[in-house]
Structures are given as structure tokens and as C-alpha cells.
Amino acid sequence: MTSPAQASVTGLMLPVMLALIPAVMVQVWLFGFDVIVTVLVAITSALVIEALVLRWRNLPVRAALADGSAAVTGALLGLAVAPQLGTLELLVGVAFAIAVAKHCYGGLGRNLFNPAMAGYALLIVSFPAAIAVWPVPGLLESAVDGMVGAAGLDVDALSIDGISAATPLDTARASARGASATAHVAHTHAWMWVNAAWLVGGIGLLAHRTITWLIPASVVAGIVLVAGVLWATAGGATPWVHLSSGASMACAFFIATDPVSAPRDKRALLVYGMMIGAITVLIREYGAYPDGVAFAVLLANSCAPLLDRATLYLITQPVDKS
């Protein structure tokens, strides 16, 4: 972190884009080339919308696009949504993320909420059915040529129609739906690979010193703690299941680490990360949504200024009366 060589916003965003590659590859392997199309559409539309908004705001377009933050937002959103999501819905999400969540709050450096998560939250509440449905992940044997789909799986083993299925989190929540054990295992396995890929990318970011270990560790700690308590007392899923499903690793390394929407002080970051982990698990276990990452992040974002103020100014300095 102390190398001036990274001293540009592009220098921070480029490693993030590269660290996404393992996740992209795994998601392509599991869910098909639609993933790449979705991600590219998301990135391109993010850049276009950013350019339009910057022009409207009379700000220099070239420099702002070059810093890569819009591209990263688009990429994260593209990877977060199911690849079968319609283009229109995707564009709505990207437009909200860039134009509203980022620029209405002032642009780069001034946004209160994580733009990608704000966009995803909009999609969850606006298109709840489309969002929750992912393709059935292709198993290893049938994915030699990268093609996945119902053809690769024994359809009879599934009790769900069609080529799309719920995620393991959905299944864990509504085990009364009666998904077969095989499918459940396959899904969990698949999502474990996804999380592993995000983890690999995250470790790469740590090694490159683009992010520090504090936020990922806090998020993981939050997840493990609350999941552990719920598992021991209320029969929730094990901490391992929580860590290896949904967007846990993506959140810990790529989403929670967005510097603008996170607090600055180390103690505040610890609380922030644990809050995200804890609320994610709570929403997963008790909330109405399959994955709580987006809302957990947004809730923690809204607490970030207060956390900064509390830790920076009450503990170390007299309260700034301004």
C-alpha cells in the first residue's frame, strides 16, 4: 500500500478488473457464455451511461472514464446478476447504479452507497423473480466444452422444471420445496467453486496490496460469528455453507472493500465489516431474500459516516463541534 506506483485511481481499479477474471471463468464454466455477454453488456452500458451523465454535468469525460470505476461497477453488477437476466432489466440496474447511486450523490468519491449494490438492490425489488433464477450449473463431466444447461444434467433427478433452478441458498431456505439431494449437492458444489474463484481473486488483490486484510477478515468474521450462533441455537445453515454460497467471498473482497462507501478508521472498518457479515446471514436466515449481501452492504454504507465519527472523533479527539 505504500508504493507510489499505484498512485492513480486507474491503478486501483485495474487490479480489481484483473482479479475478477477467475470468477468470470468459473461462472462461464458453470453457467455458460451468457455470463460473458452479460458482463460485457454491463461494462459497456456502464461506460456509456457514465459518459452521458458526465457530459450532462459538464465534467471532463475522458479522464473520468479512464479511471475505471464505472467499468468496475458494471463488471461487478454483471457478475452479480443471473446471466439470463433480460438486457432491459440489466440496463435499468446499471443506469440506476451509475446515474443515481453514483452521480446523484456527487460522482466518484462522493457516493454514500456502493453503486453496484444499489443497482442490484433495485433489481431485486423490481424484478424479484428474474433475479433469483440461475441456470443449472453444469457438472464437471459435461462441461468439457464449456457448454452447460439441462442437456448436461439428468433432468429426471431434478424436480424443478426447465433449465433454471434456485440457488443453494434458496434451497436451504425453502427445503420444503423438495429439491432433490443430488441437485442440492450439485448446486452447493457449484457455488463453492464460484466463491473459491472470488476468493482467489481476492487473495490476488491482497498480495498486490490493492486492499488490506482488515475488511475481508471482518466480513468473514461477521458471517462466521452470526452463522455459528444461529447454527448452534436456531438450526440455521453452518458457517461453512454461508461462507461458500451466494456472494459471500465476492462481498468480502470486492464489494465491502470499495473505499468510497466504507469508513476510513480501522476500528470503524472492523465494525463495518462485521456488520455486513452479520446482516447478510440474518437476511439469509430470516429475511425474504435469498442473498442478503446487497442490503447488508447498503445498510452498512449508511452507517459508515457515523462509525467514522464515533471512532475517529470520540475516542481519539474531542468531538468536532462543527
Binding site: A7, S8, P259, V260
Partner: protein, 482 residues
């Protein structure tokens, strides 16, 4: 030899190509000395000035480094032309006799007479630093040869080519200050030369400490901390028993005391993207900066020239800038050195790199939001040394060092004006109080004396009372008044 541990703060220094060392001393066509007309000695154009002649009347002593002819007397400077015959053999005649008694007071007056100021960049008069020391032995004499500004190497060349001068200076100071410890701090690449110096110094009491190639390892506060004498933001090194001198200053002090020489030359580094072959060259004091640059083949300085380096620099006005005792290096930046500036993204990298552990990000927030200076001062912005580590690390290209430096100046100015305002107020308050006292005394005097008829207040009251009683008595007799 002690190896200092790695600096947690600061930034890693990018490796720079080796410097070319120019052996031959540079003697210019003109010498410029910025002396105000009222402070100059009597001189007329065409007059020949002998080497070693003092040019300034009062204040900072400035000496002619070589026999020269007065060319022009301008409003802000004196221009001399070194005589051709003297060009090859500059000042060898000492101005003073070698000092016999080398106690602290004698050293201080010799250093003052020779006009030695700090040669590490700040230019603080050396005699003042010595005179401000408390009595008794000094725990640590620290000689700073680190020169951590990336790309600079003049101090390393001094160590290598004039070890005896440095050793003499070390001995003089160590004896005069009765230093318990003597430490010579240097970079790893200058270790051999530094070891030679410590071996040459008498008494075997000096040791070398190697500092990592991190910036700002040569900052005196960082050095003190690495050697175990941490300073709070408001403390000076002398308050912790440490006196720090730049190695070139030490050599100059040694020459002044042992041989009676005044400073005439100094080594500078000429470097930067605009310099084809960065070099270390020994130039005569008073050389116009433009001449040095021209002699080294630097032709394009459209982006300006600065004293210092990429991290810390002061811009120069080439029309009037001359090499002085505090000119450590000339830096020629690249043409388009301006970085694109974006908004602060709250990454928080500026806080851990600050060698003074300031809350840089918060300070920037407060200053940008134009908060009152008290809030800024409460976060100790006065501790900012302007090292520029925060500038280098900021991904958004925000000029943090300049912002903090301006805030620091504003806070110090406000404090200074608050002090003078308080003094003025105290004076005015006591004046008002004196006036009031005088008035009260006058009134009481009048009361006691009475007016021109001798009637004091008490007497008048008594008369009025008597008159009232008489009236009442008279009224009682006739009709009753309410």
C-alpha cells in the same frame, strides 16, 4: 555499525540511475549576492574586492569567495565577476586564524562570524542552534548524511571525497558539546565512506547508522525516532538531548574552526527528468542557478526549476536565484508534471504514510470544508514538515502537501497575530484601568476638598436635610402637605 530497522511510514524510494560526479569545481562568470543596499559595504562598479572580504555590513555575514570585480549594483543584489587570474585558485587564504580555545562559546562566536547556516536545506543559522543548547553534556550529536530526497547524492560525495573535513568537524563539535554519543547517519550506498570518516575521527566514539532507502529517512524527526529518541509533534530534537546537523554544515564548521575558512563552495545535485545526465557538482557560493544549468547542458526549463527534488521543492526565480549555503539540489521537472486531479476517494492511504503520524485525510476534509482554524490546529497541522509522502501516495492526485502547508502557515500566522493582539489588549486594558484609577482618585479628592465654596457632599446633604426639616416644621404649623 548499527542497522536501523525498516521505517513503517514513508514511501519506498524508486531507484535512480547513478549520479555523475563532476570533479572540477565550478567557478562562474558572475556571482550574485542578495544583499540589500543599506546593508552592503561601500563598493562601486569596477572596484576590485579581495577574496575573503566581508560584503554585508550587519546581520548574516557574507564573504566574497574569490577576488572579484564589482560589475553591477542592483536593487536586490550585488553582481561580482571573478577575476580570470583567480579562477583556478579560489579562496585558500583563511579569513580567520585557526581557533586555539575550542570551548563551546568560542565555537559559537567563530561559527557566527563565519556566517555558517544549515546546509541541509533549511538554512537555519548554525550558531543559533548551538547557542540555544542547554548547559552540560549533550547526549547525542547526530550528523545527518542521509539525504533521502530521491535522486540526490551530494552528501554522499562529500563523505567520499572529503572524509577528513567531516571528521574534523565531528571532533570539534563533539568536544565542544561534550557529546556522549556521536552518530553519523547515512544511506547504505555511502556506508564505506561513512565508516572511513568515523575511523578518522578521534576518540573512537563515533558510530555509523545506516538508514533504509525510504523517504523521508533523512528527516531529523524520523532519524531521532529510529535512534530511540521519539519526539512529540511539538518537541524539537534539542529538547530530547539530540542536536542534529547536516554533514556539509559539520564540514564547514570544522573548516571554520580548524583552518579559519569561511564557506565558499558547496556540492549540489542537478537532477530531474529535464536533466540528461544527473550530476553532482561543486559550485562556488553565489553562482547564478541559470549558469550552473547552462554549463550542464540543461536548456529546457519551461516547467520551472526548483531547489530540492521530486518530493520536496521550492520553486526558483531564475532571474535572481543564486546557489547559497542552503541550496542542496537543483531539480528540473518534466514538462507536463501536473497530475490529473480527482475527488478524494476515501482510500485512507495518506494517513499511514505520514512520518509525523498526522490525520491527513481528516485534515484535508476540514480544510476543504473551510472549517475554522481551531479545528485544524487541534489536529496538529503545525507538525507537517511538507515532506510530500501524502502527495505521492494519493491515487486522486490531490495536492495534500501544499494544502496542509498552507493551513500550517495560516495557523501559525493566526497564533502569532493572536499573541500580538493579546499583548496589545493587555496594554490597552492596563491603560484603561490606570485612567479609571486616576479618575476615581480625582473624584475622591474633590469630595474631600469640597467645591469652591468649601462645600463637600456631606455638608451639602446636611444642609439639605436641615432645610427640609425647617420646611416641614413650617408646613406643620400652617397646613398639612401630603
Amino acid at each position: 555499525m548499527v542497522n536501523a530497522s525498516a521505517l513503517p511510514q514513508g514511501i519506498a524510494v524508486p531507484s535512480v540511475p547513478a549520479l555523475r560526479h563532476i570533479d572540477k569545481r565550478f567557478i562562474p562568470a558572475e556571482l550574485w549576492f542578495a544583499i540589500a543596499p543599506a546593508e552592503r559595504i561601500e563598493m562601486t562598479p569596477g572596484q576590485q574586492i579581495a577574496e575573503g572580504t566581508r560584503l554585508s555590513l550587519a546581520g548574516q555575514p557574507i564573504y566574497a569567495p574569490v577576488t572579484a570585480v564589482v560589475m553591477r549594483l542592483e536593487t536586490d543584489k550585488v553582481v561580482l565577476k571573478p577575476l580570470q587570474t583567480q579562477v583556478e585558485a579560489p579562496l585558500t587564504t583563511p579569513t580567520f586564524a585557526p581557533l586555539a580555545e575550542r570551548d563551546k562559546d568560542a565555537i559559537i562566536s567563530r561559527v557566527r562570524a563565519a556566517g555558517i547556516t544549515g546546509m541541509g536545506g533549511a538554512g537555519f543559522p548554525a550558531w543559533r542552534k548551538l547557542a540555544a543548547l542547554p548547559h552540560g553534556p549533550m547526549p547525542l550529536l547526530l550528523i545527518n548524511a542521509v539525504e533521502c530526497e530521491p535522486g540526490c547524492g551530494a552528501d554522499a560525495v562529500l563523505l567520499e571525497f572529503e572524509p577528513d573535513a567531516v571528521a574534523h568537524g565531528m571532533d570539534v563539535l563533539a568536544d565542544a558539546l561534550q557529546a556522549t554519543q556521536v552518530v553519523l547517519a547515512c544511506k547504505r550506498s555511502a556506508l564505506d565512506a561513512a565508516t572511513t570518516v568515523t575511523r578518522l575521527s578521534s576518540g573512537q566514539r563515533a558510530r555509523t547508522v545506516v538508514m533504509d532507502d525510504r523517504y523521508p529517512a533523512g528527516d531529523e524527526r524520523v532519524l531521532c525516532k529510529q535512534l530511540g529518541h521519539s519526539l512529540t509533534l511539538k518537541q524539537r530534537p534539542v529538547e530530547r538531548g539530540v542536536i542534529v546537523f547536516n554533514v556539509a554544515t559539520v564540514a564547514a564548521i570544522g573548516a571554520a574552526v580548524c583552518r579559519g575558512m569561511v564557506p565558499t563552495f558547496r556540492r549540489i545535485t542537478v537532477h530531474g527528468p529535464g536533466v540528461a545526465t544527473p550530476s553532482v557538482v561543486e559550485v562556488m557560493l553565489g553562482t547564478p542557478a541559470a549558469e550552473v544549468l547552462a554549463a550542464l547542458g540543461v536548456s529546457d526549463y519551461s516547467a520551472g526549476v526548483a531547489v530540492g527534488g521530486a518530493m520536496m521543492s521550492q520553486p526558483l526565480n531564475l532571474r535572481e536565484a543564486a546557489i547559497g549555503q542552503s541550496t542542496t539540489a537543483l531539480y528540473v521537472p518534466a514538462r507536463h508534471a501536473q497530475r490529473a486531479r480527482a475527488a478524494c476517494i476515501n482510500c485512507g492511504r495518506c494517513d499511514p504514510v505520514c512520518p509525523q503520524a498526522l490525520a491527513v485525510a481528516r485534515l484535508y476534509e476540514l480544510i476543504e470544508a473551510a472549517r475554522p482554524l481551531e479545528a485544524v490546529a487541534a489536529l496538529d497541522v503545525q507538525g507537517c514538515t511538507g515532506c510530500g509522502c501524502c502527495d505521492a501516495i494519493c491515487p486522486s492526485g490531490i495536492p495534500l502537501a501544499a494544502t496542509l502547508r498552507d493551513a500550517r502557515t495560516a495557523v501559525l500566522e493566526q497564533r502569532a497575530s493572536a499573541v500580538s493582539a493579546a499583548i496589545a489588549k493587555a496594554r490597552s486594558d492596563s491603560h484603561v484601568q490606570r485612567e479609571r484609577q486616576r479618575e476615581a482618585q480625582r473624584v475622591s479628592r474633590l469630595r474631600q476638598r469640597g467645591d469652591s465654596h468649601g462645600r463637600t457632599k456631606d455638608k451639602v446633604d446636611a444642609m439639605l436635610r436641615a432645610a427640609r426639616q425647617r420646611r416641614n416644621a413650617a408646613n406643620d404649623g400652617s397646613s398639612h402637605d401630603a
